[in-house]
């Protein structure tokens, strides 16, 4: 029987990479859309409505990295680690060894809040700085080259001003980039939201924005993905349809039908 490592084929070797060094996501279609991957050290806002595949995509990003020797750190605000793993797609290339060996680390953000005694209802500007510092320390300790925060929207509920949120995001982006980590920051949207993020500042500060959505077409519901911006690479801005499978996320172009 072949191991998960053996089954894991680096799919992006044929993709022409242009510009800065790329962090190959391992999601073949996405790497192709991004011209080879996410530029190293970028902080990317992964945004969209519920059920669009944000958590699955971010987990797969970490999994592929871990299989290629890059440590990954997943900071969860919304779900306990056990529930997250239990609900994860049973990927062909996942093995619990990745967690046991420290290639993948999952941390519940509530543990960080408790450790620093944050007031969970309202963070002060000092709390925001402490939080940035704590996430930086965790990234350093785990030697993470890939990081996911799920989600910034939940963190932002405890930040009561746009100024503090801006500080948080700029601080995170600088700290993580300085540590050589490529990050996906998940942002949750509702159907009523008209911008790419809940508070408007997230999309402006991030180096990249990947929008995931649900598209209804004649009664059919399709999951979609679109790269809105990505600093440091030439990328497609077209909309793609995706499928969450045990072989990983698959992407195909959205058909337009002459429209």
């Amino acid at each position: 029987m072949s191991s998960a490592k053996e089954e894991h084929k680096r799919p992006s070797t044929r993709i022409l990479s242009i510009g800065r060094e790329k962090c190959i996501t391992g999601i073949e279609g996405l790497d192709s859309v991004l011209g080879g991957g996410i530029p190293r050290n970028n902080t990317v806002l992964l945004t969209g409505n519920c059920g669009t595949g944000k958590t699955s995509l971010s987990l797969e990003f970490l999994l592929h990295g871990a299989l290629e020797g890059e440590n990954g750190l997943y900071l969860s605000v919304t779900e306990p680690f056990e529930k997250l793993i239990a609900n994860m797609i049973p990927y062909d290339f996942f093995t619990k060894e990745l967690i046991k060996t420290g290639k993948l680390t999952f941390i519940d953000m509530s543990a960080i809040y408790e450790r620093f005694g944050f007031n969970r209802d309202r963070m002060s500007i000092e709390d925001v700085d402490l939080l940035v510092s704590a996430i930086g320390d965790l990234t350093r300790e785990t030697k993470a080259r890939r990081l996911v925060i799920d989600s910034i929207t939940s963190v932002a509920y405890q930040v009561d001003s746009q100024e503090k949120l801006r500080n948080l995001l700029i601080g995170l982006s600088k700290a993580l980039s300085g540590l050589g980590a490529t990050s996906l920051i998940i942002s949750e949207l509702t159907a009523a939201d008209t911008s790419y993020s809940k508070y408007g500042v997230e999309e402006a500060i991030a180096d990249g924005v990947i929008l995931m959505g649900n598209l209804e077409r004649n009664g059919d519901m399709l999951r979609t993905l679109q790269v809105i911006k990505m600093r440091g690479t030439s990328h497609s801005r077209a909309k793609y349809v995706l499928d969450l499978t045990t072989a990983g996320i698959l992407l195909v172009p959205l058909l337009k039908g002459g429209s």
């Binding site: 077409r217 004649n218 009664g219 059919d220 399709l222 349809v241 995706l242 499928d243 499978t245 072989a247 990983g248 698959l250 195909v252 172009p253 959205l254 058909l255 337009k256 039908g257 002459g258």
Partner: protein, 188 residues
């Protein structure tokens, strides 16, 4: 020579990275399907059968009755789910909610390619006419163009089944554009 033997004779040496249009008459439909199923014995390729004319279960059952084993064929069933959400009993069948979800057909083809150990696939579309019942010809054209060329780039082969009695000028034009070769079987 019956229709199944003719289909096998015409298609057993089909080249990689090509697209063939197989035009048949209604009366030889199941014979043609039998010939297509038998391609698995003549080729080292994975066979992917996109069923939108009759449900995959019906094809598998019909083949069983005439002694043709279709266990190694992977089916993408586009219609069973639409009919009161019926799901079948076979492990080699993947269901798609509706034949209007053309992107999902492409995604399932890619999924099966990833899962297969075979170096290339033969993807059979049954049929262009029934897909055309549910889809505008412009989106059909886009779908076939992307699917066929994506398979071409991976060295795989597409066989597009069409039924003579249901042919329309738009479908004929489309098949002419995307097919490298046209094979006609059964009084057509």
């Amino acid at each position: 020579m019956d229709a199944s033997a003719m289909v096998l004779k015409e298609l057993k040496d089909v080249e990689p990275s090509t697209s063939t249009s197989l035009e048949i008459s209604t009366e030889v439909y199941f014979d043609a399907v039998k010939g297509l199923m038998n391609l698995k014995d003549e080729s080292k390729s994975q066979i992917v059968y996109i069923a939108s004319t009759v449900p995959a279960d019906a094809i598998i059952n019909a083949m069983e009755m005439i002694g043709v084993d279709s266990d190694d064929v992977k089916f993408i069933d586009c219609i069973s789910n639409m009919m009161t959400g019926q799901q079948g009993k076979y492990d080699n069948v993947i269901f798609i909610e509706s034949p209007t979800m053309l992107e999902n057909i492409m995604l399932k083809v890619e999924f099966l390619r990833r899962k297969s150990a075979a170096k290339r696939s033969i993807v059979i579309i049954d049929s262009v006419n029934t897909l055309h019942i549910h889809n505008d010809w412009k989106i059909m054209g886009e779908f076939l163009h992307i699917l066929v060329n994506s398979l071409r780039s991976r060295g795989s082969t597409t066989i597009i089944l069409s039924i003579k009695e249901q042919q329309s000028p738009e479908v004929n034009t489309l098949l002419g554009l995307i097919s490298d070769r046209v094979v006609k079987i059964g009084g057509v």
